[in-house]
């Protein structure tokens, strides 16, 4: 069985996302090796949802994810840090408004 150009002895990697409850965001849980999507779904179920952690599962081929490069983290994320106007933290919250 050849998937994504991988040979038989090397199953591709899939990233697993679980949803803890209806309406909640999907969160990255980890990854599994599997031959194909259905198999990945089963493995993800066995590895990441055995204790009732999820009501929904996504499995995504790892190669389909584009990730930011750790070496680029500085220029990529820093510009927002020294711009105080992007952080709305100098507003007085009126009394009576609940702060979550």
């Amino acid at each position: 069985m050849t998937v994504n150009g991988k040979d038989d002895s090397h199953w591709p990697l899939w990233e697993v996302f679980t949803q803890g409850g209806q309406g909640q965001p999907f969160e990255h849980a980890g990854s599994v090796h599997a031959t194909d999507a259905e198999h990945a779904m089963q493995n993800a179920r066995d590895v990441y949802t055995r204790r009732g952690e999820a009501v929904n599962l996504w499995v995504v081929p790892s190669w389909a994810i584009t990730a930011s490069a750790p070496s680029e983290a500085g220029p990529f994320f820093d510009p927002g840090n020294d711009k105080p106007y992007r952080h709305p933290q100098f507003y007085k919250v009126p009394r009576g408004v609940k702060v979550f």
């Binding site: 599997a34 493995n43 066995d46 055995r50």
Partner: protein, 282 residues
């Protein structure tokens, strides 16, 4: 070796083979059988205990860690089902034996599992084929028992159906991938079907125990289950590009305590801790 006092001859009513019509366990003379419901619950419980133990032998040895976890999951589900069944069996027997006493202090001739589930793991294909043949049967049995007239057994069935649906999905998907995979995986899974097929008939044979529990409201239509089992098996075989083996000589006897040589070795491993430390709790 000292054994607990309840390890004596089982009390209860001996029930012979069914009279006429349905298939008998012909030519088999096992030890005296206990009361029908006790026997029946042991059959259900022992199938799952022995198969669960077989799967546990893969722990740390499966081809890949995800499958190691998957097999351990199925194993634990089956052993969990056997705990409920043997606990109920002990209560029905009324001789003070709990699930541990039944699991660890009976000898081979007192086990009532089908011969299929005690067969060795072999290669991964043999394990998966053995699992698939059982999973399809087990799910259909639970669906039938979920509607039976024995409340506690029906409750155990209701919980087990959910587990078995997943077990069947897991083993079916593997059969399809192995059969429709490489030349080697195809050959191995076909060989496993050919070798294990002789143990399938026993699953559907009705004997005096089945007839007796039917009178108590636990009436499973084994012929109907067989028909549906055939449909499941044929469908998966077709999708896996495999050939259904011919029905040749069939092996039977597990239901009345006549086992293959493999069970004794399995029990030696499974029971040694409990028998070395009788009365220990954990």
């Amino acid at each position: 070796m000292r054994t607990p006092e309840h390890d004596e001859e089982e009390p209860g009513i001996a029930t012979g083979a069914a009279e006429g019509g349905v298939q008998k366990v012909a030519g088999v003379r096992g030890p005296a059988l206990g009361a029908p419901l006790f026997e029946y619950l042991q059959r259900l419980g022992d199938d799952r205990l022995i198969l669960g133990h077989r799967l546990s032998e893969w722990c740390g040895h499966a081809p890949i860690i995800e499958e190691d976890i998957a097999l351990a999951n199925v194993s634990l589900d089956l052993i969990g089902q056997s705990v409920s069944l043997l606990k109920l069996a002990g209560e029905v027997e009324g001789a003070g034996r709990d699930e541990d006493a039944l699991a660890y202090f009976r000898d081979g001739v007192q086990f009532r599992n089908a011969l299929l589930v005690e067969q060795p793991n072999g290669d991964f294909a043999q394990t998966i084929v053995r699992q698939f043949l059982f999973d399809a049967y087990s799910l259909l049995m639970w669906e039938a028992l979920g509607k039976c007239g024995h409340a506690q057994l029906a409750a155990i069935a209701a919980k087990a159906i959910k587990e078995d649906k997943y077990h069947l999905r897991h083993s079916s998907e593997w059969i399809i991938r192995l059969g429709d995979g490489t030349e080697e995986s195809h050959a191995r899974v076909q060989r496993a079907f050919d070798g294990l097929w002789r143990y399938t008939a026993e699953l559907f044979e009705r004997d005096g125990v089945d007839a007796a529990v039917a009178a108590l409201g636990v009436d499973v239509d084994l012929a109907g289950i067989r028909t549906r089992w055939d449909a499941i098996v044929d469908d998966v075989l077709a999708r896996a590009t495999l050939v259904r083996p011919a029905d040749g000589a069939m092996r039977r006897g597990g239901r009345v305590g006549k086992h293959t040589e493999h069970l004794g070795h399995l029990l030696a491993t499974m029971q040694i801790v409990a028998r070395s430390h009788p009365g220990a709790t954990w």
